[in-house]
């Protein structure tokens, strides 16, 4: 089929374009003395990887800090966002539209609009330069994703099963653990993936609230990129991409479904 061939060709061009910027990063991470105009590095080396993985570079430490911050922000967002999602998904009430607008706002308003004021507040509270301060700051862009995903999940949730469990004598905690939670778990995982990735890729909020003391991976990557260590930058880039890919692989199927959260941006 001629149409098939054209489509495959267009698809191939798309695929190439999608992986193209990642190729130099991968090559740089194993390159040695790769100067202009060499098309490929004259020698390969594991130096950059050895350095990136060694304690002196602080990259693995940053990986730990970044994972802890993203995981904590996600957990806190779930704690606050699941009840809110339930309210928005199950109830019609006055001011609902306004609440939704307030929830979408932090995801759309540029980070710089919030970062300066938040820095002023956290300075007074003694939260600047602390991991906790950064986690709290990340809640601002993370919460919208978690809450709106949960709102969509609860919109399709049948509360009759809770009533049945209750009428059979289950206590509220038992109802939640054995009835509600299993039903919303797949949606919660999707919300958690979005929340994690949003925190994972924060730059300006971490820079402003962390004040250089909280070194997450994007900050470390930026430092290497602007100091001309292209080989280490390549290695750190790949280390930085990996957890996102793992998270995606874990919940890959859920992303293709109709998900209102896709209406908001992932990875920022």
């Amino acid at each position: 089929m001629r149409g098939d061939g054209l489509r495959t060709l267009a698809g191939f061009a798309l695929a190439l374009w999608l992986i193209l910027p990642l190729v130099p990063l991968a090559i740089w991470s194993v390159a040695y003395g790769w100067r202009f105009p060499a098309l490929l590095p004259p020698d390969l080396s594991t130096q950059a990887w050895a350095y990136a993985l060694s304690p002196t570079s602080g990259v693995l430490q940053s990986l730990g800090v970044t994972v802890s911050i993203a995981a904590s922000a996600t957990a806190l967002a779930a704690l606050v966002g699941v009840p809110a999602g339930r309210a928005l998904g199950l109830y019609r009430f006055r001011g609902r539209g306004l609440v939704i607008l307030l929830l979408i706002a932090p995801a759309i308003l540029p980070g710089i609009a919030v970062a300066l004021g938040l820095h002023g507040i956290f300075l007074r509270l003694g939260l600047t330069g602390t991991v906790w301060g950064v986690i709290l700051a990340h809640l601002v862009p993370v919460l919208p994703y978690m809450t709106l995903v949960m709102a969509a999940v609860f919109a399709g949730f049948d509360t009759d099963v809770e009533d049945q469990a209750r009428s059979l004598g289950a206590r509220p905690a038992q109802v939640f653990l054995h009835v509600t939670l299993p039903a919303i778990l797949p949606g919660l995982m999707t919300g958690a993936l979005f929340a994690f990735l949003v925190s994972w890729s924060q730059y300006l909020l971490t820079l402003s609230i962390g004040g250089g003391k909280v070194q997450t991976l994007p900050l470390v990557l930026f430092t290497f990129a602007t100091s001309g260590r292209n080989d280490v930058t390549g290695a750190v880039s790949l280390i930085y991409i990996l957890p996102g890919l793992l998270a995606l692989a874990l919940i890959a199927r859920r992303l293709t479904g109709r998900n209102p959260a896709l209406g908001l941006q992932v990875g920022r």
Binding site: R7, T8, A10, G11, A15, L18, P21, L22, V23, P24, L25, F36, P37, L79, V80, P83, A84, R86, A87, L88, L90, Y91, V99, I100, L102, I104, A105, I108, L109, P110, I112, A113, L116, G117, H119, G120, I121, L139, L143, T147, T159, W200, Y203, L204, L221, F222, A225, S237, Y240, I241, G244, L245, A247, L248, A252, T256, R258, L262, Q265, G267
Partner: protein, 290 residues
């Protein structure tokens, strides 16, 4: 029955967190933009910071640059994503792999993409090396400046790279919910493929495409680290300028930074309202479909 719990209690935590962090931060920024900072002895609010910012050629150049970056990135991404979505709707060899690459792209942080783009299109990057090997140039300086350039080409390329998959996945989800029935009906009534697309499918995709475009525009307008890495040092993108004013050793520049943040926030609010308007028909359509 859902009348047992008052939704206010369920919403209280999220409202407290967003009120205490997000709204309070915006409020403080607004107050300080009027040069009200008792700590520095400024107790008479005025509009001097706004006057200074709006009459500064540097600010206007930065505002223009950021608007250009956002507009160009959004238009290019939207058109390419529309094409990609129509392509990926069909079945052909390798379609699944491309679908996977689209999802993978979503998880790649912007800053990684930005560094990759730098190594790809800078004057000593991969494309410049290819041009040298092809005999097109004999020195890096002869390769067109695509990064740190006045038109922010590298910045725009990065956004297109990152946002095309984002918009495409939204369009694919929309196409899936629209189904093929409407298009098939149009075709059976004698419409050509182009007519069926132009008059049936495209109008139905439009709200989703526009809503996604608003999100892309807002992000491309407000991002900080990407123009810092790929953009020129003058004029700077607006968020870069605002942050540098804020961290200036001269504390007098802070109210001006706050005024810039307020102007950026106002543009953000406009985009928020546009998004809410565009997203509503989508949500309603979803409800009727059930």
């Amino acid at each position: 029955m859902t009348g047992r719990t008052n939704p206010v209690w369920l919403l209280l935590p999220v409202l407290l967190v967003l009120g205490g962090l997000f709204l309070a931060a915006l409020g403080l920024t607004l107050i300080r933009s009027f040069r009200y900072m008792p700590v520095l002895g400024l107790t008479e609010p005025d509009l001097a910071a706004y006057a200074a910012v709006l009459s500064s050629p540097g600010f206007l150049a930065s505002l223009g640059l950021s608007l250009w970056i956002a507009l160009a990135s959004t238009l290019l991404s939207a058109v390419l994503a529309l094409g990609a979505a129509l392509l990926l709707r069909q079945t052909f060899p390798g379609r699944q792999l491309i679908g996977f690459l689209f999802q993978m792209n979503l998880t790649v942080p912007h800053v990684v993409g930005a560094v990759g783009m730098l190594y790809l299109v800078s004057q000593s990057g991969a494309f410049a090396r290819l041009a040298y090997a092809g005999g097109l140039i004999t020195a890096p300086a002869q390769f067109p400046a695509l990064t740190h350039d006045p038109f922010a080409i590298g910045v725009i390329l990065l956004y297109v790279w990152k946002e095309v998959p984002f918009i495409t996945l939204i369009l694919l989800a929309n196409l899936q919910s629209i189904g093929v029935d409407h298009e098939a009906t149009a075709r059976s009534l004698g419409a050509t493929r182009w007519q069926a697309f132009r008059h049936v499918t495209l109008p139905m995709l439009m709200p989703g495409l526009l809503a996604a475009s608003v999100l892309v525009f807002a992000f491309a307008f407000g991002a900080y680290e990407i123009p810092l890495l790929l953009g020129a040092s003058s004029p700077k993108a607006l968020p870069v300028l605002a942050w540098q004013s804020y961290t200036d050793v001269d504390l007098a520049a802070r109210p001006e930074a706050m005024a810039m943040a307020v102007i950026i926030a106002l543009l953000g609010v406009l985009m928020l309202l546009a998004y809410a308007r565009l997203a509503r028909p989508l949500a309603e359509r979803g409800r009727h479909a059930r």
